[in-house]
Subunit: 311 residues, 2 copies
DNA sequence: GTCTGTCCATAGCTAATCCCTATGAGTTTG
DNA sequence: CAAACTCATAGGGATTAGCTATGGACAGAC
């Protein structure tokens, strides 16, 4: 009741008076005194330098100017009401937007999460940006994206940046991936040594991607030189090439298992594990859409862990 | 400068901050202090129960809710600006409307005035209503017309109604009007007696019209019985019939002189003079369009008197 | 690391404003 | 003419917007 309205009182009063055709009646409806209306209308007329109401007769009539102005005042009032309502929509997640940044790798791993989110909040406009891993954190700092999804070695438990927070969604192992007709597939080898791995012709992500750096370091640590036949920034290209048969690559197990034509082969010593994590700005405003995503992702992650334990 | 704006300050401030991306910059532009903006935005956010601006980063950013609300706020602000401008337009007489009520007689006499008005204020929508003389005053009282133009005997100097004011535009004498081939025209008679007038076959306005009543009274006073062959409520019909030759009528001199086929013949004793007057509501709002018409008519009237004296 | 400059937020005060009650002026009704 | 109704006006009290002065957070310079 005593909460102020955004809309200027004088305009509200004008609208009410026009509606009731009477100061007295309008004053009752608005729960203010009649002189208040007189005063406010007078001020409005002074501001507009034009009479709006004709009070000479028995009933209050709008002047030409009043009629014209009233139409615009009503529209303005309507706009603010709509705006107020629209904010509610944002809060109950029936509107809003969310910008995700991720790599081609995590794209494959979390599109299920994305589709769940979209089903749950169909009104939220989702935009995703594929970008190299290293671009994700700057993008968050510069607020170009709301949430990033990264694929990296397990973090040292502490944030590497003071501006961001992270949450581990799940852990993922890397395997050598081969196609249906690949020699190693034919020979039904389940695991190979690092030395054998070094002999494979590989199609790999280029050095823009952190995953590639991790693989290069693994090779360096094992004293092997990988044979990179093709480099690309497209995961689709990699998968297509591997499915053709003669080339191999290194991918997270989930991707390998969900692609019909790919088969995993373990490498000994084990290729490094990686975590898929969300990263977002620590301090600062998080939109309802953003908060909802973080929450959904958290429970989705818990579910996946449980399924893995049960399965 | 110190004149208040209609639009709520908080919304103006929001718009400015969004534009400049900074409280400080917006405050300078608006010539208020920066804490004022902080306070107002805070109140607006409390009212809407939703943050509108994200001040956590280096620059101020709009939140989802802020973006959506801002769009409506801008529209509302635009509407009020348009409304304010529209009122100026009304005052500039580039818009508005004027409703005139008059009789078929005064229609002929003052269409020059009407066309001058229209040339001067082309934005004003003019609507004219032909009506019997007696309907004009009620029409004014009931605000169906803004201004009436009457053709009647000089008023007894005082208003016959307490609700209306009048202004005499000019005075008009009545003459017998005949066509090119009328016997009296052939014999080049300049004046005739009332007795001869009584022998004429007349085409006249019907008794709805005050002019007709005045003529009837004249005849009664002179002890003659007019021979009304045709009665009509259309001045055009009267003029057409008279121009055919055998019939006569009684019309104001201006109409007779401006119609090529009509010729005036004076009657002795003189037919009553009449004044053409404007009549309007005394108390009550007069639109700019109405005031402009009254003013123009007044100077037009003065011009006519002067020309009559010179010519 | 500290220092500095630049943001925006907060506190407390002043001045403008909004709104009220009481009353007056002008019309229409009985 | 009086009664009942309309809106306008006057003056006082509570609310609010705005100011100055200051504090906390953050980025860049040294």
């Amino acid at each position: 009741m005593d909460r102020r309205d955004i809309f200027p009182r004088s305009l509200q009063y004008l609208i009410a008076i026009a509606e009731y055709g009477s100061y007295t009646r309008a004053a009752e409806a608005l729960h203010v005194s009649q002189p208040t209306l007189s005063q406010q209308i007078k001020q409005l007329e002074e501001y507009l330098q034009s009479p709006l109401l004709d009070r000479s007769g028995r009933t209050v009539q709008l002047t030409d100017a009043g009629k014209i102005f009233l139409r615009h005042a009503r529209r303005a009032w309507g706009e603010l009401n709509i705006g107020t309502r629209a904010i509610q929509d944002v809060q109950d997640l029936s509107r809003g937007s969310l910008r995700l940044g991720w790599t081609p790798i995590t794209d494959y791993l979390t599109c299920d999460l994305l589709s769940r989110y979209n089903r749950m909040y169909p009104g939220i406009t989702l935009s995703t940006l594929d970008m190299p891993q290293d671009d994700i954190e700057p993008a968050i700092s510069e607020a170009r994206i709301d949430i990033g999804i990264t694929f990296s070695k397990p973090l040292d438990s502490e944030e590497n940046s003071s501006h961001t927070e992270t949450f581990t969604l799940f852990e993922e192992a890397l395997y050598l991936a081969v196609g249906e007709t690949h020699p190693r597939r034919i020979r039904k080898r389940k695991r190979i040594t690092a030395q054998d791995f070094g002999k494979e012709s590989l199609v790999q992500l280029n050095t823009d991607f952190a995953l590639r750096h991790h693989i290069d370091r693994y090779c360096h640590d094992c004293g092997i030189e990988p044979r990179n036949v093709i480099e690309t920034n497209s995961l689709t290209v990699i998968i297509e090439m591997v499915e053709l048969g003669s080339l191999a690559t290194v991918l997270p197990s989930t991707i390998i298992n969900t692609q019909d034509g790919l088969y995993p082969i373990a490498v000994v010593p084990e290729l490094p594990h990686h975590t898929v994590s969300m990263i977002w700005h620590k301090s600062g405003y998080k939109s309802p859409a953003c908060l909802a995503f973080l929450e959904l992702a958290s429970s989705w992650s818990a579910n996946m862990l449980q399924e893995k334990r049960l399965g």
